[in-house]
Amino acid sequence: MAEEKPKLHRQAMCDRLAMEFQDDWIVNLGVGMPTLCSNYVDPTKDLIFHSENGVIGYGPLAPAGEEDRHLVNAGGQNVVPMPGMAIVHHADSFALIRGGMVDVTVMGAYEVAENGDFANWRIPNRKGGGIGGAMDLAACAKQVFIAMEHTTRDGKPRMLKRCALPITAPGVVTLVATDLGLFKITPDGFELREHAPGWNPEEIQELTEADLIIPSDLKEFRFRD
C-alpha cells in the first residue's frame, strides 16, 4: 500500500521551503508547521522574520528560563530579539504587509488548488473562522508558500483542481511542500519539482486530485546538507 511508505517529515518539508528564501528577505511564518522553517539556517543568507504583532527581526525560540514574556512571535512562542529588531504597532505591522514588504509568507492549508487558490481559515458547516492575518498576508506578500500534508487523515487529496472550502486568497500560491514532494504552481497547474524518496510520480498523482505536470528534470526531494 502506497500510504504505508515513509513520507517526508514536517521539518524536511519546511527545510525545503526555507531553502528557497533569498538573502535579505522579509519572511512571515504562519502558526504551526510553518514556524519550523526558522529551524533551517543558511549562514550565507540573512533573513528578517516578521510577525503580525509588529515584531520585525526576531530570532530563534527563547531557551527555557530565558523567555521575555513581552516578546512572542505570531504563534505566541517566546523568541529572542535579534540585533536590529524593531517593534511597530498592529496597524503599522499590517501597513508593512499590505505595502508589499513581505517577500514570502509560509502558511499551512487545508487545500491548495492548481490555480493557486488555497483554503486555510474556515471549515464548512461551522460558524466563523480563524482568519487571523492570513488574508492580508496572502493577498499582499510577494510569494505565498504552503506547507501541508498531501492528504487528509482519511486519505483524501488536498491538492485539488479547485478548492472546496472557502478560500483565503485567489491565485496566490507559488510553491507547495507536502510530505510527498515539492510542487510549483505554474499557469498550467501543479508541477511536481521534487518527489519524496521512494515515491514515483504515478503514486503521487494517485493521491492528487489535480493533474500533475511531470517535468523531464524531475528530481528527488532535497534535504538539508
Binding site: G54, I87, A169
Partner: protein, 232 residues
Amino acid sequence: MKNKIYQTFDEAVADVADGSTFMSPGFSGVGVPRNLLAALHRQGASGLTGISNNCGTLDEKVDVGTLIEAGQVKKMYAAFTSPTHPSQISPFVRMYNEGTIDAETVPQGTLAERIRAAASGIGAFYTPASVGTELAEGKEHRKINGRTYVLEYPLHADYALIRAWRADEFGNLQFRLAQRNFNPIMAMAARVTVVEIEDEIVPVGELDPDKIHVPGVYVNRLVKIPPDGIFD
C-alpha cells in the same frame, strides 16, 4: 492638569454602561488588559460589543472570553471567531454556535486598519485583503490601478481598555516589545481610554517626548497594577 490616576480598576470602569462598545487589545496573551477586563467582569455591564483580535482563549487567564462566558457581550468583531484547532471549544465558540452571541470575522490587518481609521477620522478605505473570498461578499469592490480592493469602514468604540508598560501622569504611554500590538491604535480610537500600567506611572516630564508610543491627550484614566494584580 486633570488628575487621570485612579486607585482601583473598579473605579476606572465604573461608568461603562450597558450596550457600550469596548476595545480589548492583546496578541497571543501579551498586552492584554486583564485587570481592567476583570473589573469590567465584576462591574457586570451587559449587552456589550467587543472589538478584539480573538474571542478568548482556553487558558485560565482573564481575557475578553471572561466577559463573553458571563454573557456580558452581545457581539464581537474579531480575526478569530473559531478555534485554530477544532478541539478548542471556547465559551465563545459554544455560544456562537448556539446563536447566543453575534460576531463579525474581520481579517486581522483590516481589523487594525478599521481601528486606525476610527482614530484618524477616515470615513472608509479600500484594502486588498479578503478580495475573492467569502468575507468580501456583499462588500463594495473597486478596481484601482488594476488591483481590486474592498471598501471597509472604521470601528469606533466607547472604551478602550489598554495594557501599557509605563506612563507619565499626563497619560503618555510606552509599551515593551510585543506588548504594543493593538494597544496604541485602540487607545487612539476610543472615546474613553483606560490604561493599566505594569511598571510605573512617572511624574510628567520624565518621559522623552521622542519615545512616547501614545500621546497623553488620548488617555483618560490610568491605574497602576498593584503588586497583587495580574501581570502576565
